[in-house]
């Protein structure tokens, strides 16, 4: 057992923290909330330059060849800084999808582009049912032709869909819920792909994307025909673990900010942090951050080592989906009215917590996994 960060991991954390403080402060985050695209190419190129996008991409494809543990350490920092843009969709979902299921050709071509910032990716999975289950892929069809496939249908909750260059589209190619899903890599410059924004309270960059007679070549299939679900299941694990890392990092940031605030805010002639009620709030936050971070790191490590992480991911996401919104609420409680203003930054994290709680399975979904794993 070694709970500490390796030297490399520490380096990643420190340099990420430094870079984000410099280039991604809350002023930038606010500006990007208002921005049509939601990120700047300048910052995107910089993080590509830093090697963040290809962190877990094998060296032979132009990446740094690190494990998911290192990526999780980075995600703690990007989560704390609320890094705008399709970083998560690309470096976590896109990269893992290509690594897991890409053909040699796809990997050679796409992973290299991804690692150098030339390929932003997004996952188009949900439809009406919008559950993290095979049933969510229902009306989106892919019909085989002589030289490829024709895609028709509409996808919802496509995070970063509008900003992406390439979508991973889950389409129904057979009747069986699980073994009738195929994944396709679809370029997002096709005029038959349209996107409309879904407005969330958290600036989550969700889109509805409609595909009308979109033809793709044979080589666009990711993995096997009808083999999409097992890949998605695995991807959701990476997604959930990644979100946990984000929430753990953001939780730490909120704890730091709150401790700082209650040390400086004076009421009744003393810092409010000297009142036991506030101390207990801060301690509660600290306990949840600590436990959450351990769970998140364990899940990331299991994934990074290629072990079965089903249980570890579910433990982390079931916990943090509850604990993190609670950490946000406690931070608000400690701040009083100032934290309820638009001008104060606290809401930037709070508003994002709903999307993070829901992404890649909410509490209930992961609790169900745990119930099965304890033998029920």
């Amino acid at each position: 057992m070694d709970i500490g960060l390796s030297e490399t991991q520490q380096l990643i954390r420190n340099s990420a923290r430094e870079f984000l403080e410099e280039n991604c402060d809350t002023q930038y985050v606010r500006a990007m909330e208002e921005d049509e695209v939601g990120h700047t190419e300048e910052l995107w190129d910089q993080i590509a330059e830093l090697g963040w996008l290809g962190l877990t991409v094998p060296e032979e494809y132009g990446g740094a060849g690190m494990t998911f543990s290192e990526l999780a350490v980075l995600l703690e920092e990007t989560g704390a800084a609320m890094l705008p843009g399709p970083f998560f969709s690309t470096a976590v979902i896109g990269a893992e999808a290509l690594k897991l299921a890409g053909s040699d050709e796809q990997k050679t071509e796409l992973l290299a582009k991804l690692a150098t910032g030339k390929l932003k990716m997004a996952l188009a999975f949900h439809e009406k049912a919008a559950a993290w289950a095979p049933e969510s892929v229902s009306e989106m069809t892919a019909t085989q032709t002589d030289d490829g496939w024709i895609l028709n249908g509409e996808k919802r909750f496509v995070q970063d869909g509008a900003a992406s260059d390439m979508l991973i589209v889950a389409a129904r190619t057979g009747e069986d819920p699980k073994s009738g899903i195929t994944l396709f890599l679809v370029e997002n410059d096709n005029s038959n792909v349209e996107s409309r924004e879904l407005k969330t309270t958290g600036s989550d960059r969700m889109s509805v994307m409609s595909f009308g007679e979109v033809s793709v070549p044979k080589g666009a299939v990711l993995g096997e025909v009808n083999g999409g679900w097992p890949i998605l299941e695995k991807l959701f694990q990476y997604g959930a673990a990644g979100k946990c890392a984000e929430m753990a990092g953001a939780g730490q940031k909120l704890l730091d900010n709150t401790v700082d605030y209650v040390q400086n805010r004076v009421q009744f002639g003393r810092p409010i942090g000297s009142f036991q009620a506030i101390q207990h709030h801060a301690a509660d936050m600290a306990i949840e951050v600590q436990a959450g971070r351990q769970l998140a790191r364990q899940a990331a490590w299991f994934l990074g080592e290629g072990l079965d992480a089903t249980r570890q991911v579910a433990l982390a996401k079931a916990y943090l989906s509850e604990a993190y919104p609670r950490i946000c609420a406690t931070a608000h409680q400690c701040h009083g009215a100032i934290g309820f203003t638009h001008e104060y930054d606290l809401h930037l994290w709070t508003r994002r917590s709903t999307g993070q709680r829901l992404a890649f399975g909410d509490t209930k979904l992961h609790q169900e996994t745990l119930a099965r794993s304890v033998g029920l």
């Binding site: 949900h126 049912a129 919008a130 559950a131 289950a133 049933e135 969510s136 919802r156 909750f157 409309r196 879904l198 407005k199 969330t200 309270t201 958290g202 989550d204 969700m206 509805v208 004076v266 009421q267 009744f268 002639g269 409010i272 009142f275 036991q276 009620a277 506030i278 919104p325 609420a329 608000h332 409680q333 009083g336 009215a337 934290g339 309820f340 203003t341 638009h342 001008e343 104060y344 606290l346 809401h347 709070t350 508003r351 709903t354 999307g355 829901l358 909410d362 209930k364």
Partner: protein, 391 residues
Amino acid sequence: MRYAFTAEEEEFRSEVRGWLGEQLPDGWNGINEDSEEGWRLNREMRTKLAGKGWLTLAWPPEYGGGGASFMKQVVFNEEMAYARCPGIDGSAIKMLGPTLMIHGSEEQRRTLLPPVARGEVEWCQGYSEPDSGSDLASLQLRVDETDDGWVVNGSKIWTSNAHRADWIFFLGRTNQDAPKHRGISFFVADMRTPGIEVRPIVNMAGDHHFNQTIFEDVQLPKDALVGERDRGWYIGATLLDFERSGVQYSANGRRILGELARFAKEQIGADGRPVAEDSLVRNRFAELDVDIECARLVAYEVAWMQSVGQVPNKEASASKILGTQLMQKLAKFGTELGGMYGMLGPGSEFAPIDGKYPKMQLTALSSTIAAGTTEINKGIIATRGLGLPRG
């Protein structure tokens, strides 16, 4: 003991419910009262309610009130909250009115209260300051006595609806040397008085609800003072007890639970069955049902105490804590029930129930802070209520 309203009260409830149903548009589901449209409707309903004699139901008739019992007022407040009907000026009706009736001069009552009863004016509350929130008694807004009145300098903050208010009641420091509780006085001022400036503060849900209210050499007449000079703290404290009692939480909660139950029956889960059939969901509904009932009965207890002439104190604090925590739980549950759709806010395509719940999740965060934080109220229960020593 009797856990039922009288036949007369029940009859009044049906009357109010029926009337509100007629006044509010078909399919009425509430409105964001901070919006322009919400404010317009507030004024419209206020005039109509005044016309019915319901606006200041429990005030004595000589000040334009209906002379009704506390319990009848409770019934009315419940129906208003349940109907999500705008129109009540909480600060004037629940706070200023009762305070003036106890501490104001006859002249102040006769001039200030009837316009409230007629629904003609909006009041706001100027208590908090940037450096004085929970520690209200440390307030610094300076009020100096002159030959013909008062001069006010300083700043209030978080003043809800100051941008719409005609009048403000506020606490100011009139004695710099006395111990902090003994140098405060209670005043009223016309918001059009030169030197009063209202600066908007946008809240985290994107609405303009509260403000900073700046006083710069504001000259007020002698009769701006309510009660005795330097005794304002004790006047202000009565008022807070009135503010803390409230049945609106449970009534609002009941409406929400009904709305969510309808939604859960229509919403199909991933397993192809209505969400309402999920045992976990049923369990949550039941838990919230209990929470609503707790908030309701404790609020009744507060109202009942007032009706028999007792001053609720720790009871009012308990009621406020139960009610506001209920709002936060309901907002969370409402968001969760929608699954992924639960993150879609007002105005979004596919948003369930108009995207109300994710927004309520944000606004409800303030309920445990405004009008006395949960921590301060727990302190009141522990010290004033249970007699524990002060820390």
